[in-house]
């Protein structure tokens, strides 16, 4: 099995640069599987916290502000999916790894599975949602380690919105259902 090692610098990045510069290539290494798990853990934790403690609490419980696709115009909160994508864009500007939110029931069709990896990954998640689907892939002439993690409905806000949206292709979601997946792509070159 082909195994690639990624320098611990990625771990430093996740920790907000706490390790500082110059860790060097001779330092301890960590497998891409573990690195992707760490990245996903941060994404999933932030995503659940935002959905539950910000959107659900302020919108559905305390009813002080709404979340909306048009959050700028409506002076509201970004939807949890928008929050993740905005974070992904900012992270991408630094170069390095990528992450994305994809679903077979995406409201925006651009976010439906499109690559072979994504199609294989969702097929695998449908039978084993608790284990990420992992693979080495090539895209645009570059090599990546990719992992797809199940994205579950962690808050009632997720379920209510997707079940009510006029363009949602599925409207029978329940709490803790798999609604899609988070892809983490680590460049190897």
């Amino acid at each position: 099995m082909r195994r690639k090692k990624i320098i611990l610098g990625l771990g430093a990045l996740l920790a907000g640069g706490a390790c500082g510069r110059g860790s060097g290539s001779a330092g301890p290494t960590l497998s891409p599987e573990t690195a992707a798990d760490y990245v996903h853990a941060v994404i999933a934790a932030d995503r659940a916290t935002y959905a539950e403690e910000v959107v659900h609490r302020l919108q559905d419980v305390e009813k002080v502000i709404k979340s909306s696709e048009q959050f700028r115009e409506e002076k509201g909160l970004p939807l949890p999916s928008q929050m993740l994508r905005m974070g992904a864009q900012r992270a991408a500007q630094k170069g390095g790894f990528r992450f994305a939110l994809v679903s077979a029931w995406a409201i925006n069709k651009a976010n439906m599975p499109r690559t072979d990896f994504e199609k294989r990954g969702f097929a695998a998640l449908s039978s084993a949602p608790d284990a990420p689907y992992r693979s080495y892939e090539e895209a645009g002439g570059k090599r990546y380690f990719m992992a797809l993690y199940a994205d579950k409905a962690v808050s009632q806000a997720c379920v209510s919105c997707h079940n009510a949206h006029p363009q949602s292709p599925r409207r029978d979601f329940k709490l803790n259902d798999v609604m899609g997946g988070v892809i983490v792509a680590l460049p190897l070159d």
Partner: protein
Amino acid sequence: MRELPLQLLRGLRIPLRLKVGVLSASAIVLLTAAFLGAARSVFVPGPTSDGHHLFEASCASCHAPFRGSPRGKCASCHPPDRAPDTHAAGLFDDPRWAHTLEEIDAQECVACHGEHRHADGGVTVGPDFCMRCHDDVLEKRASHASFSRSSCGQAGCHNYHDNSALNVAFLTRHRDEPDRLPRPQVLERTVAPGKGSAEARFPPELAPGQGLVERWRGSAHAAAGVSCADCHERAGAGFVRAADDASCERCHAFEGATFRSGKHGVRRAAGLPDLSPAAARLPMKPDAPRRLGCGTCHEPHGVDTRRAAVEACLSCHDDEHSRSFLDSPHGATWRAAAPGSRPPASAVSCATCHLPRVEAGDTGDRRVAVNHHNTLTLARPDRMAKLVCMNCHGLPFALSSLLDERLVRASFRGRAARTSEAIAMVRALAREAGGREEDTR
């Protein structure tokens, strides 16, 4: 007689090598003189786009020596909008979308916006370019099955970069608005806080006429405590008779910066002499002013923005849309405003739509100012609709009107021939959703 110089040259028996050398040197001298002088346009290899032709003599604005047109050069004038770019260059670094770069190099502006050749609306890749990556849309979406491959942008439904006024959620939210909103009004300009009373003080040898001082006394400048010295004193030069535009920008920095971003001021941004309206491709009046600066539209002592908002525009612009303005419904609201007074918030001028009032400044200094980027709202009908028209009109009326070219030329006298396709589609979507709800009851 015409052959005499050649005969002379033959008679002189000048070696061929010397003749070639002299001719080559002359050509080099002439071309260098043209490049360094005012005739640089002779080097332009083809028709420059409508957006760039006014500063085509400034090669360095777009080109770097021996490096072509690097992406950063485009971004120096076209920074990303506040609205998210649907096809931002960084998106294509994502392995999900990397394969689409084989169809069109969407990370390079010039892949679609070629220059010095014919461009249709600034685009040089043909109207069906969306299909290079989205070729399955017509097949997979029943609602799109009857559309042509080149109608994505042309029908006013999609905008490659900024879909903030064309996405389904925005269209749905505004799909049933009336033609005219109950309280039509543009944003109220923020008046800068006064800095105390001002006196007309100037060196005796530069004393202006009394009429000029009287006009100043009644102006917003005097009310805000702006005195003669505030504009006429220049560091190192003392009191000068003619204040320049830099003195305006000491207080009106936002207005100056946005002026240089639009066609009116872009030559100044490129380091070229100020725009002469005669250089424009749109029809201009023969007696239009010869240069465009702050004082061309604004009388610096009277500071009557009514003149700047309509009269100044119509002193240059001579196209059908401009000529129709005063007799149009918008023009009627402007003519109804009492002369000499501040126009009401419902009065529409040329500037209302083309130099829109926007919220500017940072968090601690939010204010409503006039964006002098005169081509900002002309880029796409949906931008004009969202930024300007929707202050007074519903989105369906605004989009449909802006997409009707005949109506635009007539300065909106009449009604749009048909409803915008995008609005019609979201209305159909709502009807379908309503039908589904009925079925499930």
